[in-house]
């Protein structure tokens, strides 16, 4: 009796463990273990870029991918030279490229295609024929704008006059965040953008612009600030405080990026919400490489979306 009970327990344990370990192995294989992948990064110009790089390196280490990392120091020539060096050495299975600018990639992408090495574009776009790369993995800026608007509408029950701090005019990040935001608030007749000015994604300019808006408009009519990035939001918060108002109470603050500084500001109760610009593009990019090498058909764009966070605890819980 006791023997059978014990063997039953063992059997159950075995039944649980064996498939799990098989699954583990299969998973590792599908994650690209043993592949050699070259990653050409723009540089290390911002905190976000650095965390993006670190996320890709960590992801590769976790998956057992041999990652060749090249920092181009903001130069397209360095990126092209790096890709050509990998192609010449001939031991990379795939190349991940975070392009510094959009044009000028045709010939090097063609060379990679000729050598049969797949290229995945991450982050910024390239202005080249779609057939020259496998897919593009990047943030969905429109989605970020929509998310910020949705939060604001819910928070104010659809009653809000918004000041928009615009990013660099013409940049995809700014234009698309505006589009997404405007799309959602258009559904609510009492939510509107009453002022929209550019702060070029810079903290000091965000502060200047907000200060001038507060002096020209009656602050009591402003319900919220939507900043296209956290830096401008932090600048705006300073301006709001200097005008004798309480940020996040008198004027709600919502922005995009989820940089460490914005969580300090949240801890101090001066910011309401931020939408994460996900630096975790390595995972989807490696998945795309594996899928491509397995002969799967991929869409030409794989968006990665970040969540909206209203506290440091929420954000940390997601990590």
């Amino acid at each position: 009796m006791r023997f059978t009970k014990l063997s039953l327990v063992l059997l159950i344990l075995l039944a649980l463990v064996v498939p799990a370990s098989y699954a583990q192995e299969n998973e590792n294989e599908d994650q690209g273990a043993g592949l050699t992948i070259g990653f050409s990064q723009i540089g290390s110009e911002s905190a976000w870029r650095t965390s993006f790089t670190e996320a890709v390196i960590a992801e590769a280490a976790e998956r057992g991918i041999n990652l060749l990392f090249s920092d181009a120091q903001q130069s397209q020539e360095n990126q092209i030279a790096a890709i050509r060096a990998w192609l010449a050495q001939g031991d990379v299975d795939a190349i991940i490229l975070a392009p510094v600018i959009e044009s000028g990639w045709d010939s090097v992408l063609q060379e990679a295609a000729d050598m049969g090495v797949p290229v995945i574009i991450v982050d910024r776009n390239v202005n080249a024929d779609e057939s020259l790369y496998v897919t593009r993995v990047s943030s969905d800026f429109v989605h970020e704008g929509r998310l910020a608007a949705a939060w604001l509408v819910q928070e104010t029950s659809g009653n809000c006059n918004v000041v928009e701090l615009y990013g660099t005019v013409g940049s995809a990040a700014a234009e698309d965040r505006h589009t997404g935001f405007a799309e959602v608030i258009a559904l609510f007749s009492n939510v509107q953008i009453i002022q929209s000015q550019t702060g070029n994604f810079v903290r000091t300019e965000g502060k200047q612009v907000m200060a001038s808006i507060l002096s020209s408009t009656d602050p009591s009519t402003i319900c919220a600030v939507f900043a296209h990035n956290d830096d401008m939001a932090i600048g705006a918060i300073e301006a709001i405080k200097e005008a004798g108002l309480v940020p996040a109470v008198d004027i709600l603050v919502v922005s995009v990026d989820a940089i460490p500084d914005i969580f300090d500001s949240m801890d101090a109760g001066e910011t309401n919400a931020t939408v994460e610009l996900s630096p975790f593009m390595g995972g989807p990019a490696f998945d795309a490489v594996v899928a491509y090498l397995n002969g799967e058909e991929l869409p030409k764009w794989i968006p990665v979306g970040g969540g909206l966070y209203t506290s440091r605890a929420d954000y940390d819980a997601d990590r």
Binding site: G38, L67, L68, F69, S70, D71, A72, Q73, Q74, S75, Q76, E77, N78, I80, A81, A82, R84, A85, W86, L87, A88, Q89, G90, I101, E102, S103, G104, D106, S107, E111, M115, N127, G170
Partner: protein
């Protein structure tokens, strides 16, 4: 051995050592793929470095080359890519503008006695500013001429590529060597760098030569910009920022004396290939940060400037004279 050959010899030894080290780790350094890449990827700044060699031999400096390259790229992209100009006339117009630009800096330096550092610094800002005024975004060039140039390539059996751009680089190198050593202009450049007052007394037309030196440097920087535009098929005003410093470093590592009078075009070429080799090695290694190339450049520069200092002192000369040439050295010293 003549002491003025020692820096050149050191340049070659450094290159050979670096290349063999890289080859010992990555076998592809023995293939035409890497050799072809080194030539075409470094062509644009190598061409500018050949122009800079003349400037530094004459005792001057040209800080404007990076900006001139960027301006050229944007100008070509705007005219060909947007306004539909034909490439050849565009290149001729651009080379004329570039040459005139350099000649103007040369005139400022000679006739108004403005130090080369300041005259070409203003050139740096002027050309970069004009590039930004033309366009702040990168412009794509779609033109059949560019397509056909990109197809002008000799492919080696091991898939190495000898491109039009690489050929242009080698052509400029050979013409540069010829001009430096076999023409009156070349001799005048060396004479001015060695001792400008003596050169003037010996009848060297220093004014005309100065103007020609800076015109040549800007002409080659413009040509470098065209070469870059051909290989990238686009133009962008943010490229080549700070490139002049890499170019100057390559010239010094190539064995040219910063004070002028001594130097070789071939040395500059070898130095450009050395830096290209290091960059390729760092890329293939993939674990070292590329900032190491800056450290290596720093160490090499320090070494070469130290070597020059040593050679220009009497004691240093004796150290390197190895007995046989002592008489000759004493005469020259």
């Amino acid at each position: 051995m003549k002491s003025r050959f020692i820096p050149l010899l050191m340049t070659f030894i450094v290159f050979a050592a670096m290349y063999l080290f890289a080859y010992s780790r990555f076998s592809s350094f023995g293939s035409m793929r890497i050799v072809g890449n080194l030539l075409r990827d470094n062509a644009y700044w190598g061409i500018a470095a050949i122009g800079m060699t003349f400037v530094i031999i004459s005792g001057g400096i040209d800080l404007s080359v990076g900006s001139v390259i960027a301006f050229t790229g944007v100008f070509c992209a705007l005219m060909i890519g947007r306004n539909g100009w034909d490439p050849i006339p565009t290149f001729i117009v651009m080379l004329t503008i570039g040459t005139f630009f350099g000649a103007t800096m040369g005139m400022l330096i000679h006739y108004f006695k403005i130090p080369p550092f300041i005259a070409t610094l203003s050139g740096l800002f002027l050309a970069r500013g004009m590039a930004y005024v033309l366009s702040t975004e990168s412009i794509r060039i779609d033109h059949p001429f560019y397509e056909s140039v990109s197809k002008l390539v000799y492919i080696f059996p091991d898939k190495g590529r000898f491109t039009f751009v690489a050929g242009a680089f080698l052509l400029v190198l050979f013409i540069g060597i010829f001009v430096a050593h076999f023409t009156r202009f070349g001799r005048n450049v060396y004479a001015m760098g060695g001792n400008p007052d003596a050169a003037l007394l010996l009848g060297v037309p220093t004014g005309r030569t100065t103007v020609m030196i800076y015109a040549l440097s800007s002409f080659l920087a413009t040509f470098a910009g065209i070469v870059l535009s051909l290989s990238k098929q686009s133009g962008d005003s943010t490229i080549a920022v700070g490139l002049e410093l890499d170019v100057i470093a390559a010239v010094v590592i190539g064995g040219t004396l910063l004070t002028g009078g001594v130097g070789y075009v071939i040395g500059t070429f070898i130095a450009v290939m050395t830096l290209g080799t290091i960059q390729t090695y760092l890329t293939l290694d993939g674990s070292l940060t590329p900032w190491w190339i800056k450290i290596v450049i720093g160490v090499l520069l320090f070494g070469f400037v130290g070597l020059q200092k040593l050679l220009s002192s009497r004691q240093g000369l004796r150290l390197f004279s190895f007995g046989r040439d002592r008489k000759e050295l004493q005469q020259s010293a």
